[in-house]
């Protein structure tokens, strides 16, 4: 049981390039999330998904896209990378079962992205 895995661990992009950050969970969780963490700013929610085929915007969705074709995978797409997207990106998942109020989020190890 690997939990939440993210690839790549590190990436340097040039301005205007695009890339996909991969996230996979093997816990059969319904909900998945993407956050970014900037120094001095805390974690900000980018997008989340409540199940396959359903996604919704979080607090800072501009410049990103997501899709959820399976329960396990929730990739995050950056289309035109900008220096403001330099950050550490975390994927998370939660079960949202019968006791939803105390279900917790499990985070992946993160992807460190630099846009130059």
């Amino acid at each position: 049981n690997a939990g939440v895995t993210q690839t790549p661990k590190f990436r340097i992009l040039k301005i205007g390039q695009s890339m996909t950050l991969q996230c996979t969970q093997d816990m059969n969780h319904n909900y998945m999330y993407w956050y970014r963490q900037d120094p001095g700013m805390g974690l900000k929610l980018i997008y989340y998904s409540v199940g396959a085929g359903i996604t919704d915007k979080g607090e800072v969705p501009n410049g990103y896209n997501v899709s959820r074709s399976t329960t396990e995978d929730f990739p995050l797409r950056l289309e035109l990378a900008a220096p403001s997207q330099t950050s550490v990106y975390f994927c998370a998942s939660s079960r949202q079962g019968t006791d939803q109020l105390t279900d917790t989020q499990y985070f992946g190890p993160g992807t460190r992205l630099t846009v130059l």
Binding site: G40, G42, L43, G58, L101, T102
Partner: protein
């Protein structure tokens, strides 16, 4: 004013010391109060949570919530070098520990170092 304020530290203490970590908040709708621990280059993991006001104890860790003052604390007794990490507070409304339909609001994190 940020919804959640947290002293970023860094906080350096000797092994065995009692550590006090704190957050203040402005949104009176918050009901669930969480503490996440994040080791260097890792994702956050839920350490403890409290619903509404009061104290909760788990081993060397105690979480306190004072809703009247909009102030939460995490106390670590007999601190160990293995407690060295960044501690993030997080809060949500009635949606539970994942926020339900609403986001979690994270503090910026306090970096703690416990020295031998």
């Amino acid at each position: 004013q940020k919804e959640v304020e947290q002293d970023p530290g860094p906080l350096s203490v000797p092994e065995g010391a009692i550590v006090s970590l704190n957050c203040t908040y402005s949104n009176s709708a918050f009901q669930y109060f969480m503490w996440y621990r994040q080791y260097s280059r890792k994702g956050p993991e839920l350490l403890m949570y409290t619903y509404s006001s009061g104290n909760k104890e788990d081993g060397r860790f105690t979480a306190q919530v004072d809703k009247s003052s909009k102030y939460i604390s995490l106390f670590i007794r007999d601190s160990q070098p293995s407690d060295s990490a960044t501690y993030l507070c997080a809060m949500s409304g009635p949606g539970g520990l994942t926020g339900g339909g609403n986001k979690l609001t994270f503090g910026t994190g306090t970096q703690l170092k416990v020295e031998l």
